[in-house]
């Protein structure tokens, strides 16, 4: 009878493991990761400075000039164009002549974000022959 009681008590103790501290810690970890993690993916844009030197810009016929003015309007060879269309336009130019160079002239006050978007659109059109310059006006 005594032995029976002893085993019964042991069984009861095993069943009632206190999991509250475990839940506390897991909750803390969860809150930490929810606050500290970010789902934004990092990326990079490479700019080859040595290639820029080789692009000669004297309004030659093999150069397409993209102007980004103070208001953020884009002109491709003096023709107003939307940023969404610039990729196709440049693609068409490059298809005709792959050696075409792209000169991006941006106004001094234009934010970098817009210049980077233009660089990317030109890259996606299939050329890396890009030269950056400040717009004098």
């Amino acid at each position: 009878m005594k032995t029976h009681n002893f085993y019964q008590r042991e069984e009861k103790e095993l069943i009632s493991i206190n999991i509250t501290p475990l839940i506390d810690i897991v909750f803390l970890l969860l809150v930490f990761f929810m606050l500290a993690t970010s789902f934004i993916q990092k990326s990079t844009i490479e700019i080859n400075l040595s290639s820029g030197k080789t692009v000669k810009i004297n309004n030659a016929k093999n150069t397409a000039i993209v102007i980004l003015n103070k208001k953020g309007l884009i002109y491709l060879n003096n023709k107003l164009i939307k940023v969404t269309n610039i990729r196709n336009e440049i693609k068409n130019i490059i298809e005709k002549n792959p050696k075409y160079k792209i000169l991006i002239k941006s106004h001094k006050k234009v934010p970098v974000q817009k210049v980077i978007r233009l660089i990317e659109e030109v890259r996606l059109a299939g050329t890396d022959n890009i030269k950056l310059e400040n717009l004098e006006k």
Binding site: S43, T44, E46, I47, L49, G52
Partner: protein
């Protein structure tokens, strides 16, 4: 009495399961953000490239202040200061952390200086944004 017993026996296992799943999701899917002392809002890009671990990072704030790495975080660098650092370290490529609202004149000025210092490649840090 029966009600009291029922209340005492709330099953916590499904709750713990879900919390564990959420914890594993956040641990694996996200990346832990670091505090940026300069509060730079880097530009967004539509091209996905792998982030690099560059030798040297130049930080440009939206008012044109220039910092190199995080060591000089408190002190704004003048042109001669960062030229000195560039010439001492002679990096072949540089990472540029520039605020998206910085006027492009500062961006082009920095590129010109780096070109004159014979740096071949500049990698601009961006946040990837799907088109």
């Amino acid at each position: 009495m029966a009600l009291k017993k029922k209340i005492k026996q709330i099953n916590l296992i499904p709750l713990i399961n879900i919390i564990f799943l959420m914890l594993i999701f956040f641990m694996l899917a996200g990346t832990i953000t670091t505090i940026d002392p300069h509060k730079i809002n880097i530009p967004e890009s539509i091209i996905k490239n792998d982030p690099l671990t560059p030798f040297l990072t130049i930080i440009v704030k939206k008012n044109g202040e220039v910092f190199i790495d995080s060591k000089n975080r408190k002190k704004e660098l003048q042109k001669k200061d960062y030229l000195e650092i560039l010439r001492a370290r002679k990096p072949s490529e540089i990472s540029l952390k520039i605020d998206s609202e910085t006027p492009s004149e500062y961006f082009l000025k920095i590129l010109k200086i780096l070109e004159n210092e014979k740096i071949k490649k500049v990698v601009i840090e961006t946040n990837y944004l799907k088109e």
